[in-house]
Amino acid sequence: MPNFWTDPIGFLTQWLTALLIGWGVAPEVVNFSLSLLGAIVLPLMAMLFVIFLIWYERKLYGRMQDRLGPNRVGPWGIFQTFADMGKIFTKEVITPTGVDLVPYNLAPILAVGSVLMAWSVMPLSVNIVGVNLSVGLLLVIAAGGFGELGIMMAGWGSNNKYALLGGFRAVALLISYEIPMVIAMLIPAMLAGSLNLTEIVANQDVPFILMAPVAALIFFITQVAETARAPFDLTEAESEIVAGVNIEYSGLKFGMFYVGEFLHAFTASMLFATLFLGGYRGPFVEQFPLIGIVYLLIKTFFVYFFSILFRGGLPRFRIDQMLNLNWKILAPLSLAMVFITALVDKTAVQLIGGQLDSTMLLVVRTVLLLAVNGVVFWVVTRLMEINIKPARRVVSGARPVATPGVSQQSPEDPQVPQEPQVPGEVSA
């Protein structure tokens, strides 16, 4: 009987199996019901965790905007989310006329369900994982594809021109940003030699962010875009096009989109921590796997903090700026990073691999890749500075200020403005 502290899931599985067989249940049914139990507990935990997450984000976002955030309902406002849930559950559900019922109702379910799918392969600790799938990385990408389908269905199911327009733009944005994301995900898979998320974590003796920082940056930026958070939230610009795809949704259906967005941001941060920061790794993880969950949460919240920082600090992009950024900068850069990482790493291993032992080799590879990444980053920033010209230019210089009371200017002064003062015109 494995010890609970060294192998929690194994211990629980054996205990439950013994219990159920003691009750006379057949072994296959026991297997099936244990799988079912695991499949129910994990999404439920994720959805309940969102309650805490929404409070955390609202507090932090408020602080970034120099205000307090929720602080009325309970100490530090920790019960605010419960109050919001109560409100949203009891809001009237208005279904507009002419909507196509199946896509309209399926879309919020898909928005949350697609994100929950990614939790099934996320390694929470040494032996604690939903399923140790050998193609876990591809499953996460597949889950993202489902989310796009959900937005498309929300767009046309709403029988509303603006929802449709918002849906098109949102899907065009999401599919564009999926390319650098998928290609940046190739690099941890390459360095670890597997598509299995638990193996990628197990192979991170050196966290991959040190071996591929530019790829980590690309992945982070594309994840912020994929979850449609600021500065990429043109499609649900809260103050502009009236929530885009979410126009015709009310009550809990809208709440599901909201929950889906926060959960997606958190899951994306967790994915970043798994792929690039070493996941659950840390001191004493083999002895006490439950500490691994704590390490993973710390790393995820660290990345999530940056995601909220982006949201609070950066102005929104226009859609052509976003698409230019993607197709002209991020996509070629991510492919270039795959080339460079593959070539440099392979040449290093082939040239000097035979002479060094494994730890020294790892250190040499890390330093070499870090240097190469630094060079690439510097080159790219220089190229961007040279090629991307600012779009604003000043048309006229500063004009002399008209002072009241002095209506007659000296006749030899040719600079007197005849029309009211306007600040120096700029053209966008």
Partner: protein, 174 residues
């Protein structure tokens, strides 16, 4: 019947019914949704064959890209999304005969093929772990004595598709 057989029958039935609904749905958007369900059914069938890689690839490429492309294409060509196009055309009789002949021929050909049996073949029971099989696939794709040339030809095919589509699309825009 073994549980796997029951699962296969259910999945196969779901896929076939979805495929039939694709061609018989009245509204073209519903047909697109049934297509997504059909593709998911095929992905689940890959999973019953213990090939996780192709399950994931099927969902990523077909559901995540091709289904969206088809939906965009439908929206590009239909002025009104709610309209119900003509359901059949005058050739349906002869097409039904040809379809039945092809299906019958396939079933007959497969049933006389010696490797086609209800039990798991030796190849599958001796299969290595999935992770090693993906590594083997990767090695096979680039080894000069395996599939390196078809691999590069595939990229030429892809770029041909890309250039052709952009050429046609940009020609129509001006």
């Amino acid at each position: 019947m073994a549980p796997l057989q029951i699962v296969f029958l259910i999945l196969g039935l779901a896929t076939i019914i979805s495929a039939v609904m694709v061609v018989t749905a009245r509204r073209i958007m519903h047909a697109a949704l049934w297509l997504v369900l059909t593709l998911l059914g095929v992905a689940a069938l890959f999973a019953t064959l213990e090939n996780g890689f192709f399950t994931a690839v099927q969902v990523v490429v077909y559901v995540g890209a091709i289904a969206i492309l088809i939906i965009f294409a439908v929206m590009l060509t239909r002025r009104d999304l709610q309209d119900t196009p003509q359901q059949s055309n005058p050739n349906s009789g002869i097409v039904a005969v040809i379809a039945l002949a092809v299906t019958g021929g396939l079933i007959y050909g497969l049933s006389t093929w010696q490797n086609f049996s209800a039990s798991r073949s030796a190849m599958m029971t001796n299969a290595a772990a999935e992770g090693e099989r993906i590594v083997d696939l990767g090695l096979a794709l680039v080894s000069p004595d395996a599939f390196a040339i078809p691999f590069e030809v595939a990229s030429v095919l892809l770029i041909g598709a890309l250039i052709g589509a952009i050429y046609v699309a940009s020609g129509q825009r001006e």
